[in-house]
């Protein structure tokens, strides 16, 4: 059984508890243990970097240092946590002065980060670590006929880490195909959901959410799949506000990719945290495995 140093991040404690539950359930089926990082603290989201860059790196480094002690790979389900941790590790490896300053501060908590931690986003564990063939072999109820909009969002792909394709990646589509679903192609899959602008620049963010929902609906999505709690909240919980502001009539469920994998693995919806949605799920989706009548015929 492979273990990971699991960093749930603040959202998964409550707001996105269904992401946490479905991550634990589905990785369990794949022989993986997500071992919660001892006494983890906030990654700083996008707010710290607007206040103090060094503080932002230090708080990420505290978590990386705790993970380093375990000797396990670090895994974050939230795209923003992942991006922060990944780049703090990169900067500290490259910049000895920065690392020295941060480690001086970490001494106060008897911690030290030497840079020897691999930081992964949760979806990488499924796609690259476990692999699609293995996932396919665990599917008992393929999501046949379910049209899913793979929503990558921003921070799992951007900024670019190496030379990977950040414009048209395909791994999310491949993952959805592996569980029998039909990934749709829609132009805004890499577009931003607005993130924390939903609070600080509401009009702008609601308009961004509207465009995304429209794009997914135009592609006839039954459900949008996300990899980030912030994206999920913006796209789902603010749908009603979008409808009120723009006179639209959106009603698209937005699930975590782990919840869809869970359904395909035959795990009960309740164990996957379903029932906490703002937008009701179609019974056909919950009865995954049975073809969705709306789309079963060409």
């Amino acid at each position: 059984m492979k273990e990971y140093a699991y960093y749930p991040g603040c959202s998964l404690e409550k707001m996105a508890v269904s992401y946490h539950l479905s991550a634990v359930e589905t990785t369990g089926k794949l022989g993986i243990k997500l071992k919660e990082l001892e006494d983890w603290s906030c990654c700083g989201a996008t707010a710290y970097s607007g206040i103090d860059e060094l503080l932002s790196h230090t708080l990420s480094a505290r978590n990386l240092a705790i993970a380093e002690k375990t000797g396990l790979d670090f895994v974050a389900p939230c795209s923003a946590c992942y991006k922060n941790m990944y780049f703090t590790a990169v900067h500290m490896r490259k910049d000895a002065d920065l690392a020295e300053h941060i480690n001086f501060a970490l001494e106060e908590d008897n911690l030290h980060f030497s840079g020897n931690v691999t930081v992964r986003h949760l979806i990488e564990v499924y796609v690259n670590e476990v692999g699609l063939e293995e996932i396919k072999s665990k599917v008992t109820r393929p999501l046949e006929g379910v049209r899913v909009a793979p929503y990558y969002g921003c921070q799992i792909m951007r900024p670019r880490k190496d030379h990977e394709d950040v414009e048209q990646p395909q791994f999310f589509e491949e993952l959805l195909a592996a569980i029998g679903a039909m990934p749709i192609n829609y132009p805004l899959k890499m577009r931003c959901c607005g993130g924390s602008l939903i609070i600080s620049s509401r009009t702008a963010a609601l308009s961004m959410v509207r465009n995304l929902l429209q794009s997914a609906v135009d592609g006839q999505a039954d459900v949008i799949a996300t990899t980030c709690p912030m994206c999920q909240v913006n796209l789902e919980c603010y749908q009603q506000q979008v409808n009120q502001e723009f006179g639209t009539n959106f009603s698209v469920p937005v699930l975590y990719f782990t919840q869809l994998i869970g359904l395909a693995f035959g795990i009960t919806p309740k164990k996957l945290g379903m029932g906490k949605e703002f937008v009701a799920l179609a019974p056909s989706l919950l009865a995954a495995g049975k073809a969705n009548p709306a789309h079963s015929k060409p």
Partner: protein, 187 residues
Amino acid sequence: MTETITFRQEVLNLLHASEGNPINFCIQCGTCSGTCPVAGFMDHSPRQIIAMINAGMKEEVMNSNTFWYCASCYHCTVRCPQEINITGLMYAMKRYSIWKGKYKEGLIGPTFSEAFVKMIVRTGRSFEPVLAPSYIFSFNMRGFLQEVQNATELMLKGRLPLLPARIKRLEKFRSVIGRIIPMGGLE
């Protein structure tokens, strides 16, 4: 004799430690503005704000909402043909404006970011309900009511924490922070 540093130089210095090329590499191609999903809501597009910084238009830049409207999606950054870290620049401008205490009136971003950091320094983890007062009173009545409705629904669905989570080694955590920035301003 004291040497005065230009606004442009100040901004270049802010970016000294970050990735990417300095902003005087900008060729004004507009790829950033064409890519930015928020550009339509900004006082000045990313391309314009870079030109304005390079032209030394400090007052106009500081009074612009542009960097506080940056969602940090890095779309401009991955596309910039001159490899300027434009998102990094937006963060740097946010810090500069907080540091100088100078930003466009009516923006929620600066107070929200400060409230967020203070919250983390107090408990080590995020707890959404304490953040609400930093922004909700800036909303118009309709936005206010919609936000209250959303919060109520989240609570009913069991998605809103009622008690703040606290990390165990909070005192040590705060000592770590104390070695980075003076705590006085954050209490």
